[in-house]
């Protein structure tokens, strides 16, 4: 018995040595990515939080002084912050479902190998070749209230011309449209990859069992697409919570603060008003909020799984 025990102990020793050696190599390979992660992700987050605990002292020539949580207290009493928070939540409440649902529909429709499907798929992927800044500029020209192409078409059709980006009621919807135009093809690629990983046998057996299209989608496609869907949901939410370029290029938070998302409010504080502590406080809150939303999303989808 003791021999057997000794034997098993030696085996586990050899195994754990091998395991440790392998683990060390794995960690070595991970170092560059970990370094990148620490420098470009973790450090800015920590810096952002620490910076939010300081304020600019103008009596000391603009130097920073430690004020604890004062910036947070100031921000919570600032109506402009609450307004931006409201706009950010409204924006995300619409833009995320719109992007994911359309990306999913397109992915299902374009999940084929015949020539026409491939051509249409390529057409849908074209926006990916245009940066968000360029896309925003082009959309700005198209949506110009006087000279824009869209209003020219409306005028030709005898329809009333629209103010688009100059109207507080339409500007946020225009931003949702632009963000979706840029985002949908991108998220569609991930979902397409997920769809192509589903074994065709499932569909064949469903067909034999007499399942209709909706049943196939609901009972086979959707459950097997859950993992890429979770990724797309989380990544899309993060991207839209931190959306900046279209606001910067087209509306600068206006008209009448209707597109003043929190990210733009942080930018304004930092680079226009030179109030970096306020900007860092906003980004810290934004990150915390994003973390909560993403955790809820993951939890909900995992629960069903």
């Amino acid at each position: 018995m003791s021999k057997l025990w000794r034997g098993s102990a030696t085996l586990s020793k050899v195994y754990s040595k091998k395991y440790l050696k392998n683990a060390r190599i794995a960690y070595l390979f991970l170092i560059p990515s970990m370094l990148g992660l620490i420098i470009f992700r973790i450090f800015p987050i920590v810096y952002s939080f620490i910076g939010s605990l300081f304020s600019v002292s103008y009596t000391r020539g603009g130097s920073l002084v430690f004020t604890g949580l004062q910036n947070y207290l100031d921000l919570f009493q600032d109506p402009l912050f609450w307004h931006s928070l409201k706009i950010t939540l409204i924006f995300n409440l619409f833009v995320n479902p719109i992007q994911i649902v359309i990306a999913l529909i397109l992915a299902v429709l374009l999940n084929g190998t015949n020539l026409s499907t491939r051509i249409i798929r390529t057409l849908f992927l074209l926006p990916l070749g245009v940066s968000v800044v360029i896309a925003s500029t082009i959309w700005g020209i198209l949506l110009n209230p006087h000279e824009g192409l869209i209003n020219s078409v409306l005028k030709t059709l005898g329809l009333p011309m629209q103010p688009f980006l100059t109207s507080p009621n339409q500007a946020l919807w225009c931003i949702i449209l632009i963000a979706s135009w840029c985002g949908i093809p991108y998220w569609m690629i991930f979902l397409l990859a997920g769809l192509q990983n589903i074994p065709s046998e499932y569909y064949e057996s469903a067909k034999i069992d007499g399942a209709n299209c909706w049943q196939v989608f609901w009972y086979i496609t959707l459950p097997l697409l859950r993992r890429p869907l979770v990724f797309v949901l989380v990544a899309d939410t993060s991207a839209n919570f931190l959306l900046f370029a279209p606001i910067f290029v087209l509306t600068r938070g206006g008209p009448q603060w209707s597109t003043n998302l929190l990210m733009y409010e942080a930018y304004t504080s930092a680079f226009i008003y030179s109030d970096f502590p306020r900007a860092l406080t906003i980004t810290s809150i934004l990150l915390l909020m994003l973390l909560v939303v993403v955790l809820i999303e993951i939890k909900l989808l995992q629960k069903e799984e």
Binding site: V56, G62, T166, P168, P255, Y273
Partner: protein, 447 residues
């Protein structure tokens, strides 16, 4: 022995390297300065920055930024307390704001009292006023500005209206401008064409819009001490001016929406605008377009309009040069400032670029001696601009809050242009700004 010689050589090279480096300063300019320097060389036959190097042995390394990015670059560098740039261009109303943040080195220590008196005597008063705070000279005025009204005479002819003249005594009121704009638009509408009666070159920016409330006696929008906004930005005169602006854009519809300041000059050049309020810096642009055969209409210049119940007020001030307090080469930076403010340099600058300069004496000398200024459109300097700079030019508010104030007042004008209620908009922005001013009031109280 060989090793010693080698070491000596290396040390010598290092020393030369250090010396060469010490004689070089970095200057942040707006990107328009790049073409200005080229134009300067073409007209005057010598390179301005090269001349400075020849005279002083100091090399200038210019770094050019677009308008908005220049502000951001300054913010980022100064926040980091970077020793570069050594010198940078300052939009003059930001002088105080930069000073309280510790971004600029007051110049009094680098100039004798006589030199400062001499500078003050030479410059247009508004340029010195905006650059002074607590009795300190914060930067050196370099350029200046004034606004006139560009006229598309063909559009006036079509509507059967006599256009305004290049005469400050026959200055149009805003009512005359609106009446003419409506008639012109109507004349074109009959032919199914859409044109605009009025356009502001720097639309919604306080620099250009401020004369509206100021002409009515509404003041600058900030308290005289620079620390309060409530009651100053939203007083009755400001509300009246905003009401006029609302009507111009939304009731009379003589001003286009959705046009940015970057697009306005092209809109005027395209022949779709009857009256264009713009800085004299666009005169060379229009002249060039005419020379190239791109201008399809006859044009003219007239004084900036005003409200009849008030007084004429025109925008002024422009770019100054400041020294970075964290620079390790402040003395060299100051030398560059002095060089750029010199009479002969500034006279050549005005002659070449056409941009009004802060140095009144140098500018007047050129106007008196150069025959070019006896011909249209350059006659505008003598007939309108000099008068405006000496009589109607009012600087923007001098306040540590200027960064926030400018951005939010721009948004207020923009919101009203897009249909927001003028009175409620002003109240709302005044409230936000008053709240923002609190941190500067702490500075005033020494907290």
């Amino acid at each position: 022995m060989k090793r010693k010689i080698l070491m000596g050589l290396l040390l010598g090279l290092l020393l030369i390297g250090t010396l060469v480096n010490a004689e070089k300063i970095v200057v942040f300019f707006g990107d328009w300065m790049q073409s200005n320097f080229e134009l300067y060389k073409q007209v005057n036959g010598y390179d301005l920055l090269e001349k400075f190097k020849e005279e002083t042995g100091i090399e200038i390394e210019p770094v050019y930024y677009p308008f908005r990015e220049l502000f951001q670059a300054i913010e980022v560098r100064m926040q980091a307390k970077s020793s570069e740039p050594d010198v940078f261009e300052v939009d003059s109303p930001l002088s105080v704001s930069y000073y309280v943040r510790g971004y600029t080195q007051p110049l009094d220590a680098y100039f004798s009292k006589e030199e400062i008196e001499e500078i003050k005597k030479k410059m247009f008063p508004a340029t010195i006023e905006i650059a002074t705070w607590d009795g300190k000279l914060l930067n050196l005025p370099f350029e200046n500005s004034s606004q006139v009204m560009f006229i598309n005479k063909d559009m006036f002819k079509k509507a059967g209206i006599e256009p305004p003249e290049m005469d400050v005594n026959k200055r149009w009121t805003w009512k005359q401008v609106v009446d003419a704009a409506l008639k012109i638009q109507e004349a074109y509408r009959k032919e199914g064409k859409e044109v605009w009666g009025l356009l502001f070159g720097q639309v919604s920016r306080p620099y250009q819009m401020l004369p509206l409330p100021q002409s009515l006696g509404g003041g600058s929008g900030v308290s005289p001490d620079g620390y309060h906004v409530w009651g100053y930005l939203n007083n009755e005169k400001w509300k009246k001016a905003f009401d006029w602006w609302y009507k111009a854009c939304n009731v009379w519809k003589i001003v286009p929406k959705g046009v940015t300041p970057e697009e306005t000059t092209y809109l005027f050049l395209s022949g779709k605008v009857a009256m264009f309020i713009q800085g004299t810096w666009d005169i060379p642009t229009v002249v060039q377009a005419e020379k190239n055969g791109e201008l399809q209409f006859e044009w003219g210049l007239a004084p900036h309009p005003y409200f009849k119940e008030g007084k004429p007020v025109t925008p002024t001030n422009s770019w100054h040069l400041a020294v970075n307090p964290y620079s390790k080469k402040k003395e060299l930076g100051v030398k560059f400032l002095k060089f750029m403010a010199r009479d002969d340099i500034i006279a050549d600058w005005f002659r070449a670029i056409g941009q009004i300069v802060a140095n009144r004496e140098a500018m007047m000398k050129v106007l008196e001696t150069d025959p070019k200024y006896k011909e249209f459109p350059w006659t505008v300097y003598k007939k309108i601009v000099v008068y405006e700079l000496q009589n109607t030019a009012v600087p923007r508010p001098k306040t540590p809050l200027y960064l926030e104030w400018e951005d939010l007042v721009t948004k207020a004008f923009e919101d009203v242009r897009n249909g927001a209620d003028p009175s409620a908009t002003l109240d709302n922005y005044a409230r936000i700004l008053e709240r923002m001013a609190a941190k500067y009031r702490k500075y005033k109280e020494g907290k």
